[in-house]
């Protein structure tokens, strides 16, 4: 059971992700420079948060052209797990692993705070340790976090992707007042059709141990690597 974190120029949550994986699962996840990804095999790859390539052009657009992305495509096709957090989610969307696109937050400024999230789906290794409808709390920290979908994309829900997490209030109600950035349907995270690729704007690695609050994020990593342990992924 192996995990690794892909580092792009401008990534800045890479160490946090590696730390959280170790704390949550005991797995030591090395940081791997994006041009070296093809040489490292792992069951779980994490694209961490940050500002890859300075967010030039569009957040994630330039990292989506990295050789790491071809390696990630092979990884996913072979049954591997892929998690994109914040900028990592933006990269997954720009690279076409997940549908949609990001715009500036509708509030027009960078937003960093804790939000409530409703677990919309649990049939993904990453979400297997949550209950459907469960309300969890994780921090967000982004300026381009407004998730949008093209008309044709939204209609393919279920065929190409599933909604995984939605911004909600403390009682689990998905409503505009609880939406921090104007994302369509309050979408905070989506998986691909298989559930093996998860993109999420909130930061599970920043709330993955009791020191930082509810530790609600740790089950993302435990679910992913626990599933691998049970042999759904590529195996150790």
């Amino acid at each position: 059971m192996r995990a690794a974190v892909c580092v792009f120029p401008g990534s800045n949550c890479d160490r946090d992700a590696s730390h959280a994986i170790r704390e949550a699962t005991g797995v030591v996840a090395p940081l791997v420079w994006h041009t070296d990804v093809a040489r490292v095999r792992a069951d779980l790859w994490v694209l961490p948060g940050g500002f890859s390539y300075g967010d030039y052009l569009r957040a994630g657009a330039l990292a989506a052209l990295s050789p790491a992305i071809d390696a990630m495509r092979r990884h996913v096709n072979e049954g591997g797990l892929l998690l994109g957090i914040c900028n990592g989610f933006q990269i997954l969307v720009e690279a076409g692993f997940l549908p949609g696109a990001f715009q500036s937050n509708d509030v027009l400024h960078f937003t960093a705070r804790d939000v409530f999230l409703r677990v919309a789906r649990t049939s993904s290794p990453f979400l297997s340790l949550y209950r459907e409808g469960e309300v969890i709390e994780l921090p967000i920290a982004h300026g381009e976090g407004s998730y949008q979908m093209g008309d044709d994309e939204a209609s393919r829900l279920g065929a190409t992707h599933h909604v995984a997490l939605q911004y909600c209030d403390g009682a689990g109600r998905v409503q505009p007042e609880a939406n921090p950035n104007g994302s369509v349907d309050g979408i905070a995270a989506v998986t691909d059709a298989t559930g093996r690729v998860l993109g999420m704007m909130p930061h599970p690695e920043r709330n993955a141990e009791p020191l930082f609050g509810t530790a609600d994020g740790q089950r993302i990593f435990q679910g992913a690597l626990g599933t691998v342990r049970r042999g759904v992924g590529r195996g150790a």
Partner: protein, 84 residues
């Protein structure tokens, strides 16, 4: 090989929300410009392309725009060849 100038104009598709344009539009009365009903923000890229002919240069700019400069989910683009 010659050098060709190609301008790529990227705009949001009609109906796509534009927070930046909206903020600009709300700021305009502050400098005394009233009556601007709407602002849509976009991007301009001026490419200088080495190619044997204008058609080839345009093709390259088209690939650049489709694959990278514009996001097809939210944006459209136009190409303008430099006639100078």
């Amino acid at each position: 090989m010659s050098r060709f100038g190609v301008r790529v104009l990227v705009s949001l598709k009609p109906g796509v929300r534009d927070p930046e344009g909206q903020a600009i539009s709300e700021a305009l009365p502050g400098i005394g410009v009233e009556g601007v009903a709407d602002v849509r923000a976009g991007k301009v890229f001026d490419l200088t392309i080495e190619a044997p002919d204008a058609a080839t240069a345009r093709e390259k700019a088209d690939v650049a725009a489709r694959r990278l400069l514009a996001n097809p989910v939210l944006e459209t683009f136009e190409l303008e060849m430099d006639r100078s």
